[in-house]
Symmetry: C2
Subunit: 85 residues, 2 copies
């Protein structure tokens, strides 16, 4: 079956996020005082052919570890899996 | 109250995604034949002070429209709101 897997790659706590800081500062300048902190992350939507959900998860987690994320400074987690028509 | 809002900014359908295509090609070369297509998106985690959920949503949607996304080629949607301790 064909599945769409969404996986998020986020910086680990304590790892600086220059893009997030820049956005946060820009928002302050624009008058959005209620915004405290902005952190950025990447989301990957992956179309995969797999026999079942478990296989799809396993492959995507492997890909994330090897290709999508830098495990030294980033965490990743699957946030959604759905069957495609 | 202090809230953490997560908002995803995705390219609209039909808008090309060079980063996603490059990852997809790399995965093919690495032998991941089951992977069909990869699309990339951005996720922003925003800490915001607000009186209620509705106000927080409104502010974040405004920020997304003005600062985080390019509404010509991107869509955005809030995927999670939670109260912070």
């Amino acid at each position: 079956m064909k599945l769409l897997v969404e996986i998020v790659v986020k910086r680990k706590k304590g790892v600086s996020d220059p893009e997030g800081n820049t956005i946060s500062e820009a928002l302050q300048r624009l008058g959005y005082d209620s915004i405290d902190k902005v952190r950025t992350a990447k989301l990957f939507s992956i179309e995969i052919d797999a026999d079942n959900l478990a296989d799809a998860k396993k492959t995507v987690m492997e890909i994330a570890d090897k290709v999508l994320a830098n495990p030294v400074i980033e965490n990743f987690s699957i946030i959604d899996i759905e069957e495609m028509n």
